[in-house]
């Protein structure tokens, strides 16, 4: 009995000592990182906000600064050359940048379906891409930050063999003035943002989805520069792990995410943000695989689409555009 008492006392003392040592371990300064978002603060980036607000980033010893997307902002350049370490960007932008030799790599797919949709008023009679002939379409993107709107349009048209010279293409208007004014019969938009605003205005719309016509793409990707992946893969893992936790929380109960979003969002309308949140659920969670997961065949298909329609500067190995290294590390290699 005495021996057991001694052993117990020793274990207790050892535990206390270890605990004490842990508590007094010199604190490491958190890693400062910057995340360049694709657009203005809104529900689209809810998972990042939740990771920040719930302390998932600080638990990984990371201090994150969010930078809003702006018109004509070259996000890939900001990730590759600074000031951002991470960015949120469409896969089309990654592939085109990669084809130009930009060292940017996708580490996770937040939106695993593209929210890009082309809309026309119901009474316009425009129901399918073939009906676009002879109309004005607002879809051109000059900056490259909304390249997906433009590229998916081109892919769809080319795939259907429709001659874009028989349509009038004008610049995409983020506030849809050209569409509301009737200047454009068709406008591209995101189902998770613009479409909600239009429906809130009570518009009756016909939706033409590029994915129905062979333009199947991921959308919001988390990207980082190749140098960071090589130089500090641990930081990438920690950042992504916290981010995915944030996204997991966000979609598990999207209504609870709304108050967090409202702390950041420019538009403080809770109903709008909740609707956006609801609309992006199927994009983030498709019913298959883990959040953020990517598939080789999807990347190959996206690459093939861009390559087949001559939208890449030059061919390259598509596997350079993304890495499963971090997702596999977080979820396990066999995760699906």
């Amino acid at each position: 009995m005495k021996f057991i008492h001694c052993l117990f006392a020793f274990l207790l003392a050892a535990t206390l000592l270890l605990n004490w040592q842990c508590q007094f371990k010199p604190e490491q300064l958190p890693d400062e990182v910057t995340l360049q978002l694709k657009g203005v603060h809104q529900a689209e980036f809810a998972g990042f906000y939740i990771a920040q607000e719930k302390g998932y980033y600080s638990q990984e010893n990371i201090r994150v600064t969010f930078l809003e997307g702006e018109k004509d902002l070259a996000i890939v350049q900001r990730v590759v050359y600074g000031p951002a370490e991470f960015g949120v960007i469409a896969p089309e932008s990654i592939l085109t940048a990669r084809s130009q030799g930009q060292p940017v790599t996708a580490i996770a797919a937040i939106y695993r379906q593209s929210p890009v949709v082309y809309v026309a008023l119901s009474d316009s009679g425009i129901k399918r891409p073939q009906d676009f002939l002879g109309t004005t379409i607002a879809t051109l993107d000059a900056s490259g930050s909304q390249q997906d709107l433009q590229l998916q349009f081109f892919i769809m048209m080319k795939r259907l063999g429709l001659d874009i010279s028989k349509m009038k293409l004008i610049a995409w208007d983020p506030i849809y003035t050209t569409f509301y004014d009737g200047e454009a019969a068709v406008t591209s938009c995101y189902s998770s943002v613009g479409l909600i605003e239009m429906r809130q205005k009570g518009l009756k719309l016909n939706l033409i989805w590029p994915s129905d016509y062979g333009a199947y793409f991921y959308s919001d990707m988390v990207v980082t520069g190749d140098s960071l992946i090589k130089g500090n893969p641990g930081l990438v893992t920690r950042f992504l792990r916290a981010t995915l936790r944030g996204w997991q929380d966000a979609i598990e109960d999207y209504q609870q995410a709304v108050p967090v979003i409202l702390k950041y969002a420019r538009d403080k309308d809770p109903q709008l943000q909740a609707a956006m949140m609801e609309a992006q659920l199927p994009l983030v969670h498709t019913g298959e695989d883990h959040i953020g997961w990517m598939k080789v065949e999807d990347w190959q298909a996206m690459y093939k689409l861009l390559k087949d329609y001559d939208l890449l500067a030059r061919p390259f190995d598509v596997d350079q555009s993304y890495t499963m290294q971090f997702l596999q590390e977080i979820y396990g290699s066999a995760a699906r």
């Binding site: 379906q113 929210p115 129901k127 399918r128 073939q130 795939r159 259907l160 189902s191 939706l207 989805w209 994915s211 129905d212 016509y213 062979g214 199947y216 979609i251 598990e252 109960d253 999207y254 609801e278 659920l281 199927p282 994009l283 969670h285 498709t286 019913g287 298959e288 695989d289 883990h290 959040i291 065949e297 999807d298 298909a301």
Partner: protein, 611 residues
């Protein structure tokens, strides 16, 4: 605690505790059996639902396979795959497919909501029961890719273009040579699935069955509705257990935080978990209502038992209380008190015995008042007798003196007048007569003094006993005699009393001391006095002849003597006189002595004075 309360409590405990124990056991076993019934029901519901799900999916797979094997479907599909889309043959084949084969399969009563024929090369929809689907590409869709080789069911997923959750069954369409000519894909009506899941398998109102996918999202709406399918996650204990790949049951809180009994079943072929739950409140409602009934019965029983035991206790305690009251009354002297009970039990017997005792006590006991009265009467009688006796002895003494004087006188005459006539013997006789007459006279004097003492009034005053004793000693002795007497008065506290009477006491006691120590060469006489509780005790001690203590009680009797006259003169009235004086002052007298070693005579007087 009173006996009545104790008896009531005891009976209540004896009655209620076993009922509670039996009730609890009944409740517990009832609950157990209900749990077993519920668990069996939930598990069999899960089995039934999963087999219904499988049958539904397999049935639809068979339907789509049957369609894919129809010769005209194969023929038209092959034609469309090979002919020019702009040509008439293509259009004819499409219309034929749509009108004759695809649209008739769409029924409003469930099954497929849309069936498409998809090109095996491009993934484009060639023909569809819904023409808005024509021209769409499914090239990257899993149901298309898998459907090229075998019949495939794509589990519930969210279709962005359709803006709803959906499920697709696909199968290859092959010509006689086995060449793939199309993929046939049918979109299933998920309301069928919801119906299968929501159909109640019993009478339980709160029972719900739903499917959850691997990512914890609801696949079908739970019965509460609310648009949960693929929009909300559920992470209850049951779901987590089911998603870990096991089948079983559990008690936990459901997604609405309601305690439920739940059965979970992992469906590996669909990568989903089937959950059937029923609210514990409903499951246990029968046993809970039984428990409520039991509590009511126990409460009523408790009330009845308490009332009955209270009454029973009263039948015991009431006679006892009467007994106590009777005892108290008798204690106060009321011997007429009777408990009086007709009860035939032990307490009744006790009461009757008590009454008998009181009766007998009354018969044998004289009341205190009566006793006192008798004492007073006796005392008065005794006092009267005493007075008569004193009067008698006084008159006798007084009357005796005259004849005595006559005897003495005549004897003197004989001696003086007839001296010559008397011989020697005659002279001696005369002198004896004369002497005896003188003695008798002395005796009569003493007797008179003694009886006078009994009648004279007491005049109390403060007396200096020390001075009194000294003065008496001085009076009784001469200067010559004082030389051989060591007389000493210690402290002798003053007291209230009659001066002449108490002086007589000192005279008698001190003279006795002198007398009985006269044979000592050196007589030692000590007078002492001290205050004790309530009285002052005085003593006169000498070193004389002493006395035998066995005669101590005789010392103070009239004419009682312990020594002969020859030894010490006296006629035995002195100490009797002392006793009478002290008694009249309300005090006591006693003596201690030993033959040859002296004697001590004590008397006490009340400190408050003469009573």
């Amino acid at each position: 605690m009173k006996l009545r309360s104790r008896i009531t409590l005891l009976f209540a405990l004896l009655a209620i505790v076993p009922v509670i124990i039996v009730g609890f056991l009944a409740y517990y076993t009832g609950r157990q059996s209900i749990e077993n019934v519920e668990i069996n029901h939930l598990v069999s519901t899960n089995l039934m639902k999963s087999s219904e799900l499988t049958r539904w999916i397999e049935g639809n797979q068979l339907r789509i396979e049957e369609l894919a094997q129809r010769p005209l479907v194969v023929q038209n599909s092959a034609l469309m795959a090979t002919s020019d889309p702009a040509g008439p043959a293509y259009d004819n084949a499409r219309l034929d497919l749509e009108n004759d084969h695809l649209r008739p399969r769409i029924t409003p009563t469930g099954g497929f909501i849309e069936i498409s024929v998809i090109s095996p090369d491009s993934g484009i929809v060639l023909a569809s029961s819904d023409d808005t689907q024509e021209g769409k590409y499914h090239s990257n869709q899993r149901f298309y890719l898998e459907g090229k080789t075998h019949t495939y069911t794509q589990g519930v997923f969210y279709s962005l273009p359709l803006q709803q959750t959906t499920m697709v069954v696909s199968t290859p369409v092959k010509d006689r040579q086995g060449k793939l000519v199309a993929v046939l894909a049918g979109r299933l009506d998920l309301s069928d699935l919801s119906l299968i899941m929501s159909a109640q398998s019993g009478l339980r109102l709160t029972e719900k069955t739903y499917l959850v996918n691997k990512s914890n999202f609801f696949v079908t709406e739970p019965s509460s509705g609310g648009g949960y399918a693929l929009k909300k996650t559920v992470r209850t204990e049951g779901v987590q257990a089911g998603l870990s790949g096991s089948d079983g049951v559990g008690f936990y809180e459901d997604y609405l935080k309601v305690p439920v009994i739940g059965a979970y079943k992992w469906l590996p072929q669909y990568n989903m978990c089937l959950i059937t739950e029923v609210d514990q409140a409903e499951a246990y409602s029968r046993i809970d209502s039984m428990a409520a009934t039991m509590i009511t019965i126990v409460s009523l029983l408790a009330l009845i038992v308490v009332a009955a035991s209270f009454l029973l206790a009263r039948t015991i305690t009431q006679p006892l209380a009467r007994l106590v009251a009777g005892a108290a009354a008798i204690g106060r002297g009321n011997l007429d008190q009777r408990v009086g009970t007709a009860a035939k039990d032990e307490i009744g017997e006790l009461s009757r015995a008590f009454d008998r005792m009181a009766m007998e006590l009354k018969e044998t006991t004289v009341s205190l008042d009566e006793l006192e009265q008798r004492i007073r009467e006796r005392t008065a009688q005794l006092e009267a007798a005493n007075r008569e006796l004193e009067a008698f002895s006084y008159s006798v003494s007084h009357d005796l003196r005259a004849p005595l004087r006559a005897i003495d006188g005549y004897t003197r005459i004989l001696q003086e007048e007839y001296e010559q006539l008397l011989d020697t013997e005659g002279k001696r006789v005369c002198s004896v007569i004369s002497e005896s007459a003188r003695k008798m006279s002395g005796l009569i004097d003493d007797l008179l003094a003694f009886s006078r003492l009994g009648r004279s009034a007491i005049n109390p005053g403060k007396l200096d006993m020390e001075a009194l004793a000294n003065s008496v000693f001085q009076d009784l002795t001469t200067a010559q005699s004082r030389k051989r007497i060591d007389f000493q008065v210690d402290a002798a506290p003053p007291v209230m009393g009659d001066l002449s009477l108490l002086r007589q006491v000192w005279v008698n006691l001190i003279s006795n001391a002198i007398k009985f120590s006269s044979r000592r060469r050196r007589a030692v006489i000590r007078v002492h006095g001290e205050n004790t509780e309530g009285e002052v005790v005085y003593s006169v001690q000498d070193n004389g002849v002493g006395f035998d203590m066995q005669y101590a009680d005789k010392l103070f009797g009239v004419f009682q003597r312990l020594h002969s006259v020859r030894e010490f003169e006296g006629n035995g009235v002195g100490l009797a006189l002392v006793q009478r004086v002290i008694h009249r002052h309300g005090g006591r007298v006693w003596a201690e002595g030993q033959i040859g070693k002296g004697a001590t005579f004590y008397f006490s007087l009340p400190r408050q004075g003469v009573i």
